[in-house]
């Protein structure tokens, strides 16, 4: 997801693809070659991202220390059509917002660039004009779940509720995630044609809120936002499975290590039950089998 996000982000920032990859993955000493799969001998890698007929490709070896040494092709055509994209990292950053962006800009601090990027997007002002109906509906659902809406003062975020303004550092982390989603919808970042990457939305989220999150994501998808979720969570997967409607465009990609060819492979399905292999279901099945085994072990002894 970070690779695809990097490719999308540079359509706006016009940065070098290899440089963005390094900033996002943060390999030691910013050495690009450390992103290549480690082998005992010299090795190289190629990264290719495409949309329609347009594609960007970066190739480099494990000896590449500078981003300039990567071979990049297709960059001009790729950057000619900018895409709005957002990457929500696992770690919540809004509570640490005050001063972070200026610190990041002025000093060498060891944070992946996705953390600065998400704050940049969260701080965007709302677009001019009235909020359209679709966005209003989504914002209302989130406001109901949060019991309030988000405001900012200087660089600090607050949940404005009946209790007053609650700073983000006092909120549960799951609630901050809902707040971030609210901001991205309210400030028009997540509009038709944009792409949202969300790494493990379930982290630190009360399972009772999974339904709200899933409904918002499906609704954004219906409004033309493309969404990539990475999850290891059964409830998130089942919420999607149970809430998606016939016309929804949802695919489940199972990434797995193929031991025969020692490579990562991908199996895609349009249904939850078609996910194969399903590491999440396998873990549950294993627990269930052991629980039944324990019970039967006593009953049939």
């Amino acid at each position: 997801m970070k690779v695809v996000y990097s490719a999308c982000d540079i359509t706006k920032t016009k940065l070098n693809f290899a440089e963005k990859l390094v900033n996002v993955f943060l390999p030691s000493n910013h050495a690009l070659g450390r992103l290549v799969k480690r082998k005992k001998t010299s090795s190289s890698c190629a990264i290719e991202v495409s949309r329609g007929s347009v594609r960007i490709r970066a190739s480099f070896s494990n000896h590449s220390t500078k981003t300039g040494s990567a071979s990049i092709t297709g960059i001009n055509e790729w950057q000619a059509r900018p895409i709005e994209s957002v990457y929500i990292p696992v770690k919540e950053m809004l509570a640490n917002s005050p001063g972070f962006r200026s610190l990041y800009a002025g000093r060498e601090i060891h944070f992946e660039e996705i953390y600065r990027d998400i704050l940049d997007r969260a701080h965007r002002p709302a677009p001019r004009g009235p909020t359209d109906k679709n966005r209003k509906t989504l914002l209302t659902i989130l406001q109901k779940a949060m019991d309030g809406k988000i405001t900012t003062k200087e660089e600090e975020f607050f949940l404005q509720s009946e209790q007053g303004n609650l700073e983000f550092s006092l909120l549960a982390e799951g609630m901050r995630k809902l707040g971030l989603l609210w901001l991205l919808i309210q400030n028009g970042t997540l509009l038709e044609g944009s792409i949202l990457f969300w790494d493990e939305p379930e982290t630190n989220l009360n399972p009772k809120l999974y339904g709200v999150i899933t409904e918002i994501l499906l609704e954004l998808q219906r409004h033309g936002v493309q969404i990539f979720l990475a999850t290891h969570d059964y409830v998130i997967l089942k919420e999607l499975d149970l809430r998606m409607k016939e016309k929804d465009n949802v695919l489940f990609h199972a990434l797995y290590h193929d031991t025969e060819i020692t490579q990562i492979r991908c199996h895609t399905s349009d249904r939850y039950l078609g996910i194969h292999p399903n590491a999440v279901a396998e873990a549950f099945a294993d627990l269930y089998d052991r629980e039944v085994g324990r019970s039967l072990g006593r009953l049939l002894k």
């Binding site: 279901a281 629980e291 039944v292 006593r298």
Partner: protein, 169 residues
């Protein structure tokens, strides 16, 4: 090997295990005021109470199926399963038959239920029956030894000596 039919399902029981249908109005005599599990199996050291829910019965009518789905979605089925066990326990206790620990196994014949769903249902039912007494430790006996929930596939996978098949596939 004994075979007992419950609706469209037929369960085979080894000959060293005594099996009886429990939820029969005439012999139970109190089904107007007490709920009852479908079957009781008696092992050397344990009892096994079995409740069977079969909404995918090929001859089940649409209304019955919808009623079951509604009860399932609203959690009423869990209440039903809880009281079926408790009332059956009370009934058997009043008969002076509760001499051994009891296991409570529920078969919900819905193919789409995954192991995760079954595990969640079992955990919920264990809390509701309840399997454990109060934290004060005042209970001298547990009212149920264990609770598990199966679908047809997991039942036949784990209870190979007690296979359940459809009479009419």
């Amino acid at each position: 090997m004994t075979a007992i039919t419950e609706g469209n399902l037929r369960i085979s029981v080894p000959s060293d295990v005594t099996a009886r249908k429990f939820d029969i109005g005439d012999t139970h005599g109190l089904t107007h005021c007490m709920k009852a599990v479908d079957l009781i199996l008696e092992f050397k050291d344990h009892f096994l109470f079995i409740e069977i829910k079969d909404p995918e019965h090929p001859q089940a009518n649409a209304m019955d199926r919808d009623t079951f789905i509604k009860k399932f979605q609203t959690g009423k089925i869990d209440e039903d399963l809880k009281y079926k066990y408790r009332d059956s326990f009370l009934y058997e206790w009043a008969c002076g038959k509760i001499e051994k620990p009891i296991y409570y196994y529920v078969l919900i014949a819905i193919d789409g239920l995954t192991e995760a769903d079954l595990q969640a249902k079992a955990d919920d039912l264990k809390r509701k029956v309840p399997q454990c007494g109060p934290s004060s430790g005042i209970w001298k006996h547990w009212i149920v030894e264990d609770v598990m929930v199966f679908n047809l596939s997991t039942w036949n996978k784990h209870l190979k000596d007690f296979p359940i098949r459809r009479s009419i596939p």
